[in-house]
C-alpha cells in the first residue's frame, strides 16, 4: 500500500483497473454478475452495475473494533469466495483495522489519523462491537482513548458508517440485560451520519462485502429497512425463505431434536425457531461456501440478526410463548382475585343483609290504584 503504482491505480476507475489487469469485457461482465449476486440484486441489474463500476473510484476504509469478540472479522476473512471478495476488497483501501493491520501502537493510530486527514468527509467507517458508555466509557479503550471518543472522532469525517454485527448494530450481547457496561449501538451515539446496520452474530460475510460492493459500485448506501439494514439481504425473513416452510404450512413439526419429525426435516418452530420473526439472508446465502445454515443443520434459528435477541426468551421455546413466567402470574392472580373477591363478596353479602333488614313490607295500602 502507498506505493506509486498503488497511488496511480487509486486514481482510475474500477473498470479501468480490471482492464489494466488484462481482464476482458466478458470477464468484467462476469465480475458484475458475481457482484450483483453478492449484493443480492437481481441479475437484471447487471448492466446498471457495469455502468456504475465503469465510473467507481476507490474509497478509503477505516475499521474500528470496540467491545467485540472478533467474530465479525473472522466471519469476513473466512468468507467463502475469497477471490471475489478480494476483488472487492482490492477496490477499497483498508487503511486501519487493528486486527488485520501489520502496524501496531503509535504507528497504527498514526495510520488512522492520516487516512482521516487525507480522505476527510469521504472515507467509509466500519464498526464492529458495541460501545460502552457507562462511567465515561472506561470499560473499553484503545491507545487510552475510550471507544465513545474514538467513534465520535472518526465518525465526524466519515461519508457513511457500516455497523457490522449485532453488537455495533443493536448493542448485541454487551447490551443484553443487565448491560453492565452501558453498551450502546453505533446508531445511538452517532446520529448525524448515514449508518448501515449489517446485523447478525456474526453477520453473513457476503452481506458485509455486498454492502461494501454497493458503496463502491454506486457510491451510496443501499436501501435500508426500518432497522437500518440493507433490504436486499434483510428484506425477507428466514421463515419466508426457509426450505422447511412447507412443513410449517402443513403443520408438521419436530417436537424434539431426535424425534421422527426432526429426522424427516420438519419445521423447527416448536423447538424455538425464531425464523418467522428474523430478517436475514441465511436461508438463501447460507454459510460455509454456501453449504448450509443453522436450520438446514437441524437447529432452530436464534434470531441473531434482530435487536436484543438475547433477551427474547429461551432459544428453545417457541416464538408464541411469552417471555415471562405466565404460570406465576396466573397463580398470584388467582390468589389476589380470591382475596379481592372475598372482600367484594363480604361487601355484597352485608349489603344484602342490610337490605333484608330494611325490608319494606308491601301491604294492601300500597295497592292504591294510580287513577
Amino acid at each position: 500500500m502507498g506505493s506509486a503504482v498503488e497511488q496511480n491505480v487509486r486514481a482510475i476507475t474500477v473498470a479501468d483497473r480490471l482492464r489494466a489487469q488484462g481482464i476482458s469485457r466478458r470477464g468484467f461482465l462476469k465480475f458484475c454478475a458475481s457482484t450483483a449476486s453478492l449484493m443480492a440484486l437481481s441479475p437484471a441489474m447487471v448492466p446498471a452495475i457495469a455502468r456504475a463500476l465503469e465510473n467507481a473510484r476507490r474509497p478509503s476504509v477505516i475499521w474500528l473494533s470496540f467491545q467485540e469478540c472478533t467474530g465479525c472479522t473472522e466471519s469476513l476473512t473466512r468468507s467463502h469466495s475469497p477471490s471475489v471478495e478480494s476483488l472487492i476488497l482490492e477496490q477499497v483501501s483498508l487503511d486501519y483495522h487493528h486486527t488485520l493491520q501489520a502496524a501496531s501502537g503509535e504507528a497504527a493510530e498514526l495510520a488512522r489519523e492520516t487516512a482521516m486527514q487525507e480522505n476527510q468527509g469521504k472515507y467509509l467507517l466500519v464498526v464492529d462491537g458495541s460501545i460502552p458508555v457507562k462511567d465515561g466509557g472506561v470499560y473499553s479503550t484503545i491507545a487510552g482513548i475510550t471507544n465513545v471518543d474514538m467513534l465520535n472522532e472518526v465518525a465526524a469525517g466519515a461519508a457513511a458508517i457500516i455497523a457490522v454485527g449485532s453488537c455495533a448494530a443493536f448493542g448485541g450481547i454487551g447490551h443484553a440485560r443487565p448491560n453492565p457496561t452501558g453498551a450502546m449501538p453505533v446508531s445511538e451515539i452517532v446520529t448525524d451520519k448515514p449508518i448501515v446496520n449489517v446485523s447478525g452474530c456474526p453477520p453473513i460475510p457476503t452481506v458485509i462485502t455486498g454492502v461494501l460492493a454497493h458503496f463502491l459500485t454506486f457510491n451510496k448506501l443501499p436501501d435500508l429497512d426500518d432497522l437500518g439494514r440493507p433490504l436486499a439481504f434483510f428484506g425477507q425473513s428466514i421463515h419466508d425463505r426457509c426450505y422447511r416452510r412447507p412443513f410449517y404450512d402443513k403443520g408438521l413439526f419436530a417436537e424434539s431434536f431426535d424425534d421422527e419429525g426432526a429426522r424427516k426435516g420438519w419445521c423447527l418452530y416448536r423447538l424455538g425457531c425464531k425464523g418467522p420473526a428474523t430478517y436475514n439472508a441465511c436461508a438463501t446465502t447460507k454459510w460455509n461456501q454456501g453449504t448450509s445454515f443453522p436450520i438446514e443443520a437441524g437447529h432452530p434459528c436464534l434470531g441473531c440478526s434482530e435487536p436484543d435477541f438475547w433477551d427474547m426468551g429461551s432459544f428453545y421455546r417457541a416464538l408464541s410463548i411469552p417471555t415471562e413466567d405466565t404460570t406465576r402470574t396466573l397463580v398470584y392472580g388467582v390468589g389476589t382475585g380470591a382475596v379481592l373477591g372475598a372482600a367484594a363478596a363480604a361487601v355484597a353479602r352485608s349489603r344484602k343483609s342490610k337490605a333484608k333488614a330494611a325490608h319494606y313490607k308491601v301491604s294492601v295500602n300500597d295497592l292504591e290504584e294510580s287513577t
Partner: protein, 417 residues
C-alpha cells in the same frame, strides 16, 4: 326508605342471588329469548324481548353486586334505577309477560329469565309500579278473600246447585278428611261444573275430601303482582285452613299460578315446610287412574287436543299426567305443535288477565294459540287451568273460531263409568 325508587332498589337488593348474578353475567344479547316469547313473536316489538324486561333488576345487580360495577357507580357512571325507568318498564314487566317460562327454556347461556322477571316484580310492586287491574285484584284477594270478590256465601250457592244436580254431598269443613280441595274464583263463578266433577269422581273413587269455608280460594294475586308479603298472607290462609282441618293433602285446582304459588313458592315465601302435601288435581286423578279407581264408560269421539297451562306443565312439572288421563277418554287425541314443556302460553297468565290495560296486547298474543289450533283442526281443546280456559274462549270468540274449550277434570267426570 321513603322514595319509591329506594323501595324498588332495596327489594332488588334483597332478591338478587347467585343464580341471578350468574344469569346477568352470562347474557350475550343474542336475542333468541325474543323468539321464545309470544309477546314478541306476535307483535315484533323488540322491547318485549324477555331479557330486556329485567333491566331495572340488572342495573342494581351491576352497580351493587359487581366489583367493577361498584367502581363505576363510585365514578358516577353507573346507570341508576329511577322512577322514570320503573314507569317505563311497568308495562313490559306486567302487560307483556305471563311468567310462562318459555324464554327460560331456550336461552343458550341458560338464563332463567322468568325467574328474574318474577323477582323484578317484587321491586316494582314495592315501589307502587303495578297495573291498576292487578292492584285491584290483589286488594280484593287480601281484603275480601278472592280477586273476583267471591265470598263463601257465593260458593255456598254454587255448592247447593251442584248438590242438587248431582245428588251428591259436597263436604265442607270436614275435620280429618284426607284431601282439602281448593278452588279458583273463576271456577266458582264461571265453571262450577268443576265442583260437581270433583264430587262425582271422589264419590266413585272413595276419596275422603272436603272444602274449607275459611280457605277455599286457591288463586294468589300476591304472586302475580310479585309481592312475597301479600303472597304469603294469602298462602297463610290456606295453611291455616288445612291445619285446622288436619288434612294430609291440599289439592290445587285447575289453575296454573295457584299451583305454582302453593306448590313451589309457598314454603319459601312462608319460610317453613308445610305440614301437608300439595297435589295438583291432575296428579291425584292420575294416581286414581293407576289404582283403577278412575274408570270411564265411553270416550270423546271428536278430535281433541290439549293446551298445556304453563305453570302446571312447563313450570310445574305435571307433564305426563294430563296425557295419561286424556288417553282414557279421548279416541282421537292430537298434540299441537310445540306441545308439552315447550307449548305456548294462552297469553293471559301471570296477572295479565286481571290487567285491563293489557287486553289489546293479550288478544294480539292469542294469535299464537290461534295459529297452533288452525294447523290442527281439532274441534275441542281440553285444558287444566280456568284462567287459560276463559282467555281462550274469549280469544276464540274474538277470532270467530268454533272450538270448544273444556276442563280436563269435568271431561273425565262426564264420562265416568
Amino acid at each position: 326508605m321513603s322514595s319509591s325508587e329506594d323501595r324498588a332498589v332495596n327489594a332488588f337488593r334483597e332478591q338478587i342471588d347467585g343464580p341471578i348474578a350468574s344469569y346477568l353475567s352470562s347474557c350475550v344479547h343474542c336475542g333468541l329469548c325474543a323468539h321464545a316469547c309470544l309477546f314478541f313473536t306476535e307483535t315484533e316489538d323488540p322491547r318485549y324481548t324477555p331479557i330486556n324486561k329485567v333491566e331495572p333488576l340488572r342495573r342494581v345487580w351491576k352497580s351493587e353486586y359487581t366489583f367493577f360495577g361498584k367502581l363505576a357507580s363510585m365514578l358516577g357512571v353507573a346507570k341508576k334505577v329511577t322512577d322514570d325507568l320503573l314507569e317505563e318498564w311497568e308495562p313490559l314487566i306486567y302487560d307483556a309477560c305471563t311468567l310462562c317460562g318459555r324464554c327460560s327454556m331456550v336461552c343458550p347461556v341458560g338464563n332463567d329469565i322468568s325467574y328474574m322477571i318474577r323477582k323484578t316484580r317484587e321491586g316494582m310492586v314495592a315501589a307502587g309500579y303495578a297495573p291498576d287491574g292487578l292492584k285491584g285484584a290483589t286488594q280484593r284477594a287480601v281484603t275480601i278473600g278472592s280477586p273476583m270478590g267471591v265470598k263463601f256465601p257465593a260458593l255456598q250457592v254454587q255448592i247447593h246447585n251442584v248438590e242438587r244436580e248431582t245428588g251428591l254431598t259436597v263436604p265442607v269443613d270436614v275435620h280429618g278428611a284426607d284431601y282439602m280441595a281448593l278452588l279458583s274464583s273463576m271456577e266458582i263463578m264461571n265453571f262450577p261444573e268443576y265442583i260437581g266433577a270433583l264430587a262425582k269422581i271422589f264419590d266413585k273413587a272413595g276419596v275422603s275430601w272436603t272444602l274449607c269455608s275459611e280457605a277455599f280460594e286457591a288463586t294468589n294475586s300476591g304472586m302475580q303482582i310479585g309481592s312475597s308479603d301479600l303472597e304469603g298472607e294469602l298462602l297463610q290462609r290456606v295453611v291455616d285452613g288445612a291445619e285446622s282441618l288436619g288434612v294430609k293433602y291440599v289439592i290445587s285446582p285447575e289453575c296454573g299460578h295457584a299451583y305454582y304459588a302453593l306448590r313451589w313458592e309457598g314454603p319459601n315465601v312462608l319460610g317453613k315446610k308445610y305440614p301437608f302435601q300439595v297435589i295438583h288435581i291432575l296428579e291425584l286423578l292420575d294416581q286414581l287412574r293407576l289404582k283403577g279407581k278412575l274408570k270411564v264408560e265411553d270416550k270423546v269421539d271428536e278430535k281433541l287436543t290439549f293446551h298445556d297451562p304453563c305453570q302446571i306443565v312447563r313450570k310445574g312439572g305435571v307433564v305426563e299426567e294430563p296425557r295419561s288421563l286424556l288417553s282414557l277418554v279421548a279416541s282421537d287425541f292430537v298434540e299441537m305443535e310445540d306441545a308439552g314443556v315447550m307449548n305456548w302460553c294462552c297469553g293471559a297468565g301471570g296477572g295479565v288477565s286481571a290487567n285491563e290495560r293489557a287486553q289489546p296486547l293479550k288478544l294480539a298474543a292469542f294469535k299464537r294459540k290461534k295459529s297452533q289450533l288452525e294447523a290442527l283442526g281439532a274441534g275441542t281443546m281440553v285444558t287444566a287451568c280456568a284462567n287459560c280456559r276463559i282467555n281462550m274462549e274469549e280469544g276464540l270468540e274474538e277470532n270467530n273460531m268454533q272450538i270448544e274449550v273444556i276442563g280436563l277434570t269435568e271431561t273425565l267426570a262426564d264420562h265416568l263409568a
